[in-house]
């Protein structure tokens, strides 16, 4: 196998697949990248069996073929090569010669025979989405995923294609974020998956290199074809991402979203964010809560910790309901405020034991459960 490639393109291609490597010592090949050369492109593939990524880069292929190389090392070498032109030459015994300008590397590779192929999915359950939209939607809910491995069902983002809309949900059992968007979903193609947290992170990395993406799934796995038409450093066609999905039943999230609105207030997102963040500076592991108090046209945020001190913030709002107060974990208030981009949010509260709800006009809901001193 022999090809010539632009150093920055090479590096960019490896960067796409770099994060997905196996950690199992039993299968060393999983820490390698599969490099395949044919026609005018080189394909890079990595997988850890749960997650796999494939990206294509344009190159001048002289002799087609394939080999696998340790991806981390390779990426750090390629990044630092002195010259933009890189020649890649693999001998049949999997020794690779990499030369650029005055530097030459010889790297020991492994044959591709042991490299597990990425599963492909048919088109039965596939949908096209706009990349920018999906990015916004994922960012609006991803923070609410649980990291507690004992509740693995919650370690991901729930995608539901149903009732003419796409709904994304994430929850850790104490707060829940949901966002939905109108979309054509034929009744016979309706379905849902739980996409693992790690895949969500990778996906967010990949997005916004093009305009659209295609998602296909069945009950065990999901695949994404992410168009790269906006990329200018060598990526061809689309990036292919394969992932196992979290198997199990997602909790019935609809029942925890309050149906009735009690007290709704309109807030300036950044102002509230700043107030709560400042107040939370006095919080400690012992006392990790901020109290929100509503009185006539005034919202007050207070926090205190017994061994440090206390904070008091106030902001003017339009409010004429009864006086009430409720306490929350500050992170649960800050996360949705940070993730949103709109200037205005609506906040709904009822009393100190009922959940607080953030909403926007774009079908976004974030339910957060209060903290109480018992």
């Amino acid at each position: 196998m022999k090809f010539k490639i632009n150093r920055d393109h090479f590096s960019n291609g490896l960067a796409q697949v770099l994060n997905v490597v196996g950690s199992k010592a039993t299968m060393p090949i999983l820490s390698n990248v599969l490099i395949e050369a044919e026609k005018d492109c080189v394909t890079f593939t990595t997988t850890n069996l749960d997650l796999g990524i494939r990206a294509r880069i344009k190159a001048e292929v002289k002799e087609p073929g394939s080999v696998t190389l340790p991806v981390k090392r390779l990426a750090s070498i390629v990044r630092e090569l002195p010259n933009l032109d890189v020649a890649f030459d693999a001998s049949p015994n999997h020794h690779v010669k990499l030369s650029s300008g005055g530097s030459t590397f010889k790297i020991m590779g492994i044959g591709r025979e042991e490299f597990p192929p990425l599963p492909e999915l048919g088109d039965e359950n596939s949908f096209s989405l706009d990349q920018a939209t999906l990015t916004t939607m994922l960012q609006s809910v991803a923070y609410a995923q649980s990291s507690d491995e004992t509740r693995y069902i919650l370690n991901g983002v729930y995608f539901s294609f149903r009732d003419s809309k796409l709904t994304l949900v994430a929850t850790d059992g104490r707060r829940l974020a949901l966002i939905s968007k109108e979309m054509d979903v034929a009744a016979d193609r309706a379905g849902s998956i739980i996409l693992p947290a790690k895949t969500v992170t990778e996906l967010l990395h990949m997005l916004n290199k093009g305009t659209t993406l295609k998602i296909a799934f069945n009950e065990r796995r999901a695949t994404f074809q992410i168009a790269t038409d906006k990329d200018t450093s060598g990526l061809l066609d689309s990036i292919y991402l394969y992932s196992k999905v979290v198997e199990g039943n997602y909790p019935n999230y609809q029942q925890v979203i309050p149906k009735e609105t009690q007290q709704r207030i309109k807030l300036e997102r950044e102002l509230l964010l700043a107030c709560v963040h400042r107040a939370s500076l006095v919080c400690s592991e012992k006392a990790n809560s901020v109290r929100i108090k509503l009185t006539s046209n005034l919202l007050e945020v207070t926090a205190q910790s017994p061994d440090f001190g206390e904070a008091h913030e106030s902001m003017a709002i339009a409010y004429s309901g009864p006086e009430l107060q409720v306490a929350f974990n500050p992170a649960y208030v800050l996360d949705p405020l940070r993730a949103l981009t709109k200037d205005e949010v609506f906040f709904e509260v009822k009393d100190e034991v009922s959940p607080g709800v953030f909403k926007t006009l774009e079908n976004f809901v974030c339910v957060i459960m209060p903290v109480r001193l018992s």
Partner: protein, 596 residues
């Protein structure tokens, strides 16, 4: 001098009753065993007031003719064996012929029975061991026995009974054991008119376990089957990692008889020594089938204990079979492990609460500080003098140091992810991260409890918790206490609870296992109900072990903050379970070791 005389049967029966019938649950056990021995396929048990006022056991077995029924009430009358040698071939539960006369001698006893072919049934009423009447009655084929006013003729025994709830729990537990042993028999259990357990004929043991213990538990079990000449083991065992803090869900049967066998219990625990942390007990519902001649069930009046002729071979057979099955499961992938149990940490349950030196100091100090020193904001320096006075040797040195104790400590690094190494003016200190964190959390939680300021995080999705009747009764009893300490738990049907809120530091997924451990600790330990301080300390100790989540990497600032917090504690030397938090190597020690 009193003359030697032979006791009348009625007295002898009452004495035997003292051994065989120690509580209402024993009556139920004997009667259910009789029904099973008779080959019934449907058994209904009803009782009222913990069994003391009324017990009824009805079956659809073959029934008895009148003469047999009368004979059955005689002492040592049985259809199950004929000669002593039969004891070596026992395939039935009963054999002594003592149960019916014993029960009849201490209650108002009604027996109704009709043999399948007979025209009329027989009804026999015995009150306190005296025959009242024998007459014809109509009833379907089978036998029905009612035991009312239990222990009416032995008031002393009556006084020793526990509360109705406890006695009821024993009956329920007992019936469940037999229901497990005979999945093909339909069981109904009615308490005070309410159906507690109704299980139709199940296809297999797994189905029955699901019916009785719930689906959650069933999913943590895998079947096991092994055989060697003369021995057969089958049933269900827990997945690696799925453990409990008590043995209540480690249930063994020998030839279908529920038994409490040391040999089997230890064999099971030993098999799991790699699959479960120390001090946790495996889940098991296992049946051992063995030649009746190789086992003696006539050891214990209630036949709860058995003795094997060859303990060693039974033991090694069980260990080999279970280990082989566990290895088989471990082989494919760790993914086979239930994620719900991966977080189990070595529990501190097996440490007796009264051990070590420090509790005295701990218990003493809250009182000392409550006497006048403001607790919350007071720097440790102000609280340490009373500690130092009342405390024993080791702790004085450290508590006396106060927060300045760690001045001049330089963090060097973390060994094996567990031990932090510090250079100190006096030499070197090795710190056990987990133990240190546990100590810090323990005192933090104690402070929260004392100030009645336990933050409670409400949950979006209530966590369901299903307990066995005894544990449920305990939890129900202390629900207020628990709910005052950061939880929000509501009763949701019999033996079923919903966790609607957890202490703010706890992961929702941890709440179920934590409460199980807590209830188990209550069950094993001394009654602390009357002493809220001790109960709180127990809660804090268990909670501290759970609260600690160690990140894989910890920077210098984190470790410095940890030692500062640790030395602000009242008893920084040990963790709440009594392990050392750190070891100090002084200059002298170092010099001596290096022979300088």
């Amino acid at each position: 001098m009193p003359n030697v005389r032979i006791l009348p049967d009625r007295v002898a029966n009452q004495i035997a009753a003292g051994e065989v019938i120690e509580r209402p649950a024993a009556v139920v056990k004997e009667l259910v065993e009789n029904a099973l021995d008779a080959g019934a396929t449907r058994i209904e048990v009803e009782f009222a007031h913990g069994g003391r006022s009324f017990i009824r056991v009805e079956d659809n077995g073959p029934g008895m003719a009148r003469d047999d029924a009368l004979l059955a009430l005689e002492r040592h009358a049985t259809s199950k064996i004929a000669e002593a040698d039969d004891l070596n071939r026992l395939a039935t539960f009963g054999f002594r012929g003592e149960a019916l006369p014993s029960i009849a001698s201490v209650s108002r006893f009604t027996l109704q029975t009709r043999a399948a072919g007979a025209e009329a049934g027989t009804e026999i009423l015995v009150n306190g061991g005296r025959f009242v009447h024998v007459r014809d009655c109509g009833r379907p084929a089978g036998t029905r026995i009612e035991v009312a006013q239990l222990f009416n003729s032995v008031p002393a025994r009556r006084k020793f009974l526990k509360t109705d709830a406890t006695e009821a729990a024993h009956i329920v537990t007992g019936v469940r054991l037999y229901a497990l042993a005979f999945p093909a028999v339909a069981f109904t259990l009615i308490e005070d008119g309410r159906v507690v357990l109704r299980s139709p004929e199940c296809a297999d043991l797994a189905g029955r376990v699901g019916e009785i213990f719930g689906r959650q538990l069933r999913e943590q079990l895998v079947p096991i089957a092994a055989e060697e000449p003369g021995l057969r083991l089958h049933g269900l065992i827990g997945l690696p990692g799925a453990g409990r803090a008590t043995r209540h869900e480690m249930i063994t049967f020998v030839n279908a008889r529920p038994v409490d066998s040391r040999t089997l219990n230890y064999a099971l625990i030993e098999s799991y020594h790699e699959a479960l942390p120390k001090g946790r007990y495996p889940l098991a519902f296992v049946f051992l089938e063995i030649d009746p001649a190789a086992v003696d069930v006539n050891v214990h009046p209630a036949k709860r204990e058995v003795r094997f002729r060859s303990e060693a071979s039974v033991r090694s057979f069980v260990i080999c079979s279970v280990l082989a099955r566990l290895r088989e499961m471990a082989a494919p992938a760790p993914a086979a492990m239930p994620p719900a149990t991966s977080n189990i940490q070595p529990s501190t349950l097996n440490v007796p609460p009264q051990s070590r030196v420090w509790p005295a100091a701990l218990l003493a100090t809250p009182k000392a500080s409550a006497a006048g020193v403001p607790v919350v904001i007071a720097p440790p320096a102000t609280t340490s003098p009373p500690v130092a006075v009342g405390n024993s040797s080791l702790a004085i040195v450290h508590t006396g140091r106060g927060p300045q104790a760690t001045a001049g400590w330089r963090y060097l690094g973390l060994a094996h992810g567990e031990f932090a190494l510090f250079e100190t003016p006096a030499g070197l200190v090795l710190l056990d991260r987990r133990a240190a964190h546990e100590r810090v959390w323990f005192e933090r939680l104690q402070a929260q409890f004392r100030d009645h300021a336990v933050p409670n995080q409400r949950l979006l999705f209530a966590v369901p918790l299903e307990l066995d009747p005894v544990a449920a009764a305990l939890l129900l009893d202390r629900l207020d206490f628990i709910n005052r300490h950061g939880f929000e738990i509501v009763e949701f049907g019999r033996s079923f609870f919903r966790i609607e809120g957890v202490p703010a530091w706890m992961e929702p997924g941890d709440a179920g296992p934590f409460l199980r451990d807590l209830v188990a600790a209550w069950r094993e330990g001394p009654a602390l109900g009357a002493n809220p301080d001790a109960a709180r300390e127990q809660l804090a100790r268990l909670a501290a072990a759970r609260a600690v989540r160690l990140p894989a990497v910890a920077g210098e600032t984190v470790m410095q903050a940890l030692v500062t917090e640790l030395f602000a504690c009242r008893a920084p030397l040990t963790s709440p379970s009594g392990r050392l938090t750190h070891i100090e190597l002084g200059h002298g020690e170092l010099a001596r070791r290096f022979q300088r």
